[in-house]
């Protein structure tokens, strides 16, 4: 009986030993806990929000009462409701449009600086494919203009001689 107990105990101890070894191997340095957030961040200043939205709420109410009215309609009626309001569609809000690098159109980057322009656009826009494509179009247009000019100048020079 004591032999069986001893054997079981040794097997158990061996397993514990193996288990702790495995754990110590897979254990990683624990990260510092994240700091608790300030409570004020979680509250919304209603009065500031209402003040900010005042003009847009008036425009919204007008549009609810006049379905189908577009920005162009209000513009041609010289409506005061659209003073300071952009004529751009943004259903996704502030994240709708990607900005070209330094506010200069990507097409111009490619057109003026060629391959370097494309590379700069790619880097500055964090690999934005659409902006990079615009820069590529810019470079291709520049090449096209050069080819036309070159052929034109070459043929007129050939005619001259």
């Amino acid at each position: 009986m004591s032999r069986i107990l001893l054997k079981s105990f040794s097997v158990f101890m061996a397993m514990v030993f193996l288990f702790t070894q495995t754990l110590s191997l897979s254990a990683r340095a624990s990260e510092a806990p994240l700091a608790s957030i300030d409570e004020s961040v979680l509250t919304l200043d209603e009065s500031a929000l209402n003040e900010a939205m005042q003009e847009l709420n008036v425009l919204d109410e007008f549009l609810n009462e006049n379905a189908g009215v577009t920005y162009t309609d209000l513009e041609s009626a010289e409506s005061e409701l659209i003073i300071g309001v952009e004529n751009s569609t943004a259903p996704l809000g502030m994240d709708s449009e990607s900005e070209p690098p330094l506010g200069i159109p990507s097409f111009l980057w490619g057109c003026i600086l060629g391959v370097i322009g494309i590379l700069l656009v790619y880097i500055l826009t964090d690999g934005d494919k659409d902006e990079t494509r615009k820069a590529l179009w810019g470079m291709l247009v520049w090449i096209g203009v050069w080819v036309i000019l070159y052929v034109g100048v070459f043929s007129s020079a050939a005619l001259w001689y």
């Binding site: 957030i37 961040v41 979680l42 919304l44 920005y71 162009t72 004529n87 569609t89 259903p91 659409d130």
Partner: protein, 232 residues
Amino acid sequence: MKFRLKTAIIVCLLGLTIFQTVRAQEYYRVNADFTVKVKLADGTMNLTKGSVYYDKNIQELIYRVSFPQPEVWVIADTSIFKYRNGTLYDRITIPSVNEFTVFHLSLNSGISDFGMKRSRFKVSRVEKKNDLVLSYWKIPDKAGISIDHIVVAKKENRLESVIMMGDESKVLSRQFYRNYMKSGAFEFPQQIVQILPGEDGEENYQVTEFNNIQVNDMENDELFRYRSSAAN
């Protein structure tokens, strides 16, 4: 033998009834009228109105815009397709976002934790502040974005706010989910307020409002899938 047949029929009928009930509780599409109002700290304003359609099986988020001008935006996979008068006029590549939109999360009962539980992010801390339960979700460095961690605040198991934090505990964005509409087990916020702090501490506001929210509309199938030849 007769008794066994009767039992089998009753079991089958019972099974069918339960199946129908479970199916009826499955939410798969949502549509609403929306208004997005943006007021930037520099005074610039923007207002976009229309209706939005999303079917989680089709996975096309369709915005049918009426103001400032009629157009359709279709967000599918990693692209935004923009149409005017049924013709594509612009296409933008974006990260795949449909599964993290309020529409998809609401239909999959994942809005209460902002979809974090189903993401690859790990909860790093949980705490209680007054009547809010806050969970802190650490973003892996590999993600390559400026967000360091996300704080999700819940009240009575309902999403209240989402705070995006950058390095050195800098607040990048605050979102507040309010005025929930409830239909059975389906819950949808009728107002989302987003505040983005500017460089000098000033605040940029964005308010998204949803009205006439309909869930599982089975009568207007064609509105949940966009075909460029279709009129706006």
